[in-house]
């Protein structure tokens, strides 16, 4: 397959991608198979993300695809006698911060949660320690600085998030985490600002006003709506996203039982058995240990008493 053919086919795939695991892995395998054309294929990923006609849902799915691609690329390269040498990993990793900003454009953070999940997996694949950032992400309220709180009081919009501000980190994955946390901060900041400064509506409000999603395509200013398309969800898209998320959640649970077992042994090994139960049960707490010992002593005393003659 020449580079042109591969690129066309690949961007077609990306444009129609759905968050079904099969679909994602198929695209990933296509990319890996054609790793000779890595430069071209990588650019078609960026191209699709930059296309203003690409829906937000698709962009978020492409981020999931990147997660899958990196994972698969690692997998195939780590197999013994593999003729792959970590295709795509470097290019994707170094442009990850850029990609993130394309998936979460402007002030629209609808895909934040999915990106967060994917980034967690990417960090695992790249063996980047991310716990600290993970914690930061889920306790965002404590992260707003004094200055930022003052800005909220003063009703100043959150500054634009730009990639240029993030050059200090050495690992691009960490940079991406920083950006993601900034995004979340932005979202929280704007929410606080809204709670503080917007007037409270008394009467009934319509669905569109409450969530300000794009009204279904019957608006008078069609032109405006289409230029906006990439940035705002329609209700239908929201519902679709929900269904997709549920589906991928279900799929993610389907593999829970899978174990990593060496090829030649198909039965449960002692270790596996032990490790399973070791992990399943937590440590005995001091309290539990104490109460166990107490009842053991009681039992012993009772047994000792039951003998007619003194035993020991």
């Amino acid at each position: 397959m020449d580079s042109f053919e591969a690129t066309t086919q690949f961007s077609q795939m990306l444009r129609n991608i759905t968050p079904v695991m099969q679909n994602l892995t198929r695209a990933a395998h296509f990319a890996i198979k054609n790793h000779e054309q890595e430069d071209y294929l990588f650019h078609s990923i960026i191209e699709v993300l930059d296309d203003p006609n690409t829906e937000l849902n698709t962009k978020s799915t492409i981020f999931q695809f990147i997660e899958v691609l990196m994972h698969e690329a690692f997998q195939v390269s780590q197999q013994p006698k593999s003729h792959y040498s970590y295709p795509y990993i470097h290019t994707l990793k170094s442009s990850l911060p850029n990609i993130l900003l394309k998936v979460l454009p402007g002030a629209n953070n609808s895909s934040l949660h999915n990106v967060y999940n994917s980034l967690k997996n990417i960090s695992k694949t790249c063996k980047t320690a991310y716990e600290e950032y993970d914690n930061k992400y889920s306790s965002i309220n404590t992260l707003l600085s004094e200055a930022e709180l003052e800005n909220i009081d003063a009703n100043i919009p959150y500054p634009d998030i730009k990639i240029e501000d993030e050059i200090n980190a050495t690992d691009p994955v960490i940079t991406t985490w920083d950006l993601l946390i900034k995004k979340k901060k932005q979202s929280q900041y704007e929410r606080l600002r809204l709670l503080k400064h917007h007037k409270v509506v008394e009467g009934s409000v319509s669905e569109e006003d409450m969530f300000s999603f794009q009204p279904n395509k019957t608006t008078k200013d069609q032109a405006d709506a289409s230029s906006n398309a990439a940035l705002v969800f329609t209700k239908k898209q929201i519902l679709m996203r929900m269904e997709d998320d549920r589906e991928s959640h279900k799929r993610s649970k389907e593999n829970l039982w899978v174990v990593n077992r060496p090829k030649d042994s198909n039965s449960l090994t002692e270790d596996e058995f032990l490790v399973y139960y070791w992990n399943k049960f937590g440590n005995v707490t001091e309290e539990e240990d104490k109460s166990f010992r107490e009842s053991l002593n009681d039992l012993n005393a009772m047994v000792a008493q039951s003998y007619k003659d003194k035993q020991f």
């Binding site: 008394e202 409000v205 006003d209």
Partner: protein, 574 residues
Amino acid sequence: MSEKYRPPSGPRSTRGFNDDKRGPRPPISSNNNSSRGNYKQSYGGRDSYAQGGSRYYDDRDSYRGSGSERMDYYSSGRGRPSGPPNYRNSDRDFYRSSYKRPYPSEPKGFRGPESSRKRPDRKDNYGTPSASTSSGERPGAYKSGPPEGAGPGKISLNNLPKGPRVYHNGGRGRGRGGFPRGDRMGGRPAPKPIVKLTKAQTYSIQFSKAAEVYKRVQQVGEGTYGKVYKARNTITKEYVALKKLRLESEREGFPITAMREIKLLQSFDHENVVGLLEMMVEHNQIYMIFDYMDHDLTGLLTHPDLKLAESHKKFIFKQLLEGLNYLHKRRVIHRDIKGSNILLDSIGRLKIADFGLARTMSVLNDGETPDYTNRVITIWYRPPELLLGSTVYGREVDVWGVGCLLIELYTRTAAFQGFDEVGQLHKIFNLMGTPSLEDWPDIENLPWFEMLKPKINKSSSFEKEYRPVMSEHSFDLAEKLLKFSPEKRLTAEEALSHPYFTEEPREEPLTFLKDVKGEWHEFETKKRRRKERKRLQEAKLANAQSSVVQTNNEVSLQSVPDSVIAPDGPKEQQ
């Protein structure tokens, strides 16, 4: 084990083999008898037990065809003083058949050496002491059979199944080979009158199909799981509910969800939770059988003339909470709380039903979080955290639904009637106001919050709308059950100690329900509504036609607003 169920012995194939490939069986010495008996005790019995099941039908079939000859044999054997009943033959056959069989060309005496060669092995394996043990002495053997000296010729089920074998063997050379007492029986036995079998014995021969135990009366419910019927037990005359499982769409055998439901139901024992009476398989259908309840909450609340006093509402709601508290104490989340799953009998006793979506909470170690599906609970009763995509939730999701039901007891219509997730959340925010930072601190970490973030601040109109129509304490309770943040919602137990239940008027059973005509389930209510709508539509149509004729004489039917008829209830989920 009842004798009735004793599996017959001896595989059929052995017989076929016998007939086809072997000549008449060599006579067996009486020496062999006793040792064979022992062998059977120690080994064969065990073995043939395991195989019994599959052979059952075969044996029964051929048994039928050969009834009279068998009888001959039985009666003729009357005089035998001892010796194992001849099913042991079959065991021997069976035993032998599993080894390379000697062909008829083999010397007649082969059996002796062979059996004596094999037997010690068995003894080693199973540790039975010696050949001299009499079979009757072994208690607890699967089929000890009549002891050696048992009533001669006595027909018992012990020797029933060997019928066909007797036929085959006997037909070939009765008196000559194959039978322990062949010599004694000698030539042809005198024909004896046919012995009538006792009822217990006919079990395996004749199977008269009993009339259906449960007679269906009518359908009372329908869902994705299948249909529910009201039925009557023809023996006890009690009414029951039959829940027919829908298996047509199942390609992978019995649905695991139904398995889960049955397992849960079996573990329940509380007056406010339905109990599974039994399971039934009939006409290739599987039914779950429950106590029949006359009404469900949704159905009852649509009754046009029914007036519930405060005490009655309290009676209903208290039971609902007691049932829920029981479930929650047992770490079960119901996950489908709604009016049509709350059943009531003729004096208002309440049971929580339908555990098709229920699950037990997983036991977690430190640092672990649960991970359940958020596609549960009928949308009108679904709490905001599920609408925002939470997969880390707990018992609180049921409490929200119960809160909705409390309002419904007073207003008779569901408080939040959304059409889809977005609409449902909008309905909730519109009434309860958009959540503030204090209302629900953790909301920003829910998966779909960014997608469904309210873009305006809406104040709550809950109080304005519901305080006037509810009592003081019920309103307070409802408010606490419908907190945005799951952590702030009351638990079922806390709700039970709310002043609502301690203040006057105290709860009172709904004795008047006895006089209510008919049964009120959501199913029938929907049917009635459909009918009503059809009637209205026809009237409209007729009206439209007549209005063509008499344009001036407008009939006011046109002006009946559509909203008189409530929608068909929430969409079924899953």
